[in-house]
Amino acid sequence: MGTFGTFGISASGLTAERLRMDIIAGNLANANTTRSADGEPYQRRFAVFAPIEEPGQRSVGRGVRVVGIYKDRRPPKLVYDPNHPDADEHGFVSYPNVEPVREMVDLITATRAYEANVTAFNAAKNMANKALEIGR
C-alpha cells in the first residue's frame, strides 16, 4: 500500500467527520421540530465511529468508518404552551432533546478533526511528490 494507502485513510477520516457535521446540522435545523414523520418530537442523532483495522498489534490500520447513526434516547424537553397544536392534555409541548450548545461544541470538534485529516493528506501528498524526484 505504501504512500498511496495513506490517502485512503485520510479520506475515510474526512468522510466520517463530514458526516458528523451533516448530522449536527440536521440536529440544529430540527432543534424546534415538535412533529417528525412518526408524530413524535425530533430526537437528536449522533454517529458512532470505529477504526478499520485487522486484529493484532502489528496491523497498520486503514482509517475510520461510521458504524451507524443512532437516536438519542433522552427524554424530550417539556414546555408549557396550551395553545400549541402538539400540546398534550396537560398543556405541555414536547420539544426535541437537542442542546444547541452541545451541538456547537461537537461542530467545532468535527471541524478541527476535518482540518487535521486535510493536513495528514497534504503531508502524504508532499511525500509522494518528493518520491517522484528520486533519481532526477
Binding site: 485513510i9 497498520v60 490500520g61
Partner: protein, 125 residues
C-alpha cells in the same frame, strides 16, 4: 568479493523510505480516529525498525528492500474521558517530523545517484 551498484547505505535508505511511508500511514490512521471512542494510538519506532533492517543487511540477508510490516506500538499515554489516546498536536508534530525525514532521505538518495551517474559517465556530464 563482488561489485555492487547499490551499497549498504542505498539499501538502508530505501528501507528507511519504506518505513517512513508506513509510519505516515499509521499517523494518518491515528488522526482519522481522533473522535473514535476507545481508540488507542499506534506508532512505528523508526529507529528500532531500521536497526533491525541494518542487522539483516549485516547478516547478508536481502529482505531489506522489499516491503516490510513493522510492528505498531500501541501507546498508553494520556487517555481522554472517552478512552481515546490520540493527541492531535502530537500527531501533527510526528507527521511533520516524519515528512521531513522522508524528504531528507530522498535528498540523500538523489545525491548518491548523482555520484553514481558521475562515475558511470567517467566524470563527464
Amino acid at each position: 568479493m563482488g561489485m555492487h551498484l547499490w551499497g549498504k547505505t542505498d539499501r538502508l535508505l530505501a528501507a528507511g523510505l519504506d518505513v517512513s511511508a508506513r509510519r505516515a500511514q499509521v499517523l494518518s490512521h491515528n488522526i482519522a480516529n481522533v473522535n473514535t471512542p476507545g481508540y488507542k494510538r499506534k506508532d512505528i519506532d523508526f529507529r528500532r525498525v531500521l536497526q533491525q533492517v541494518n542487522e539483516e543487511i549485516e547478516r547478508g540477508e536481502k529482505g531489506a528492500m522489499e516491503a516490510r510490516t513493522p510492528g505498531s506500538i500501541a501507546h498508553q499515554a494520556a487517555v481522554r474521558n472517552d478512552g481515546n489516546s490520540v493527541d492531535v498536536e502530537r500527531e501533527m508534530a510526528y507527521l511533520a517530523e516524519n515528512s521531513l525525514r522522508y524528504n531528507s532521505m530522498v535528498e540523500i538518495l538523489n545525491r548518491r545517484i548523482r555520484l553514481l551517474r558521475a562515475a558511470i559517465s567517467e566524470g563527464r556530464r
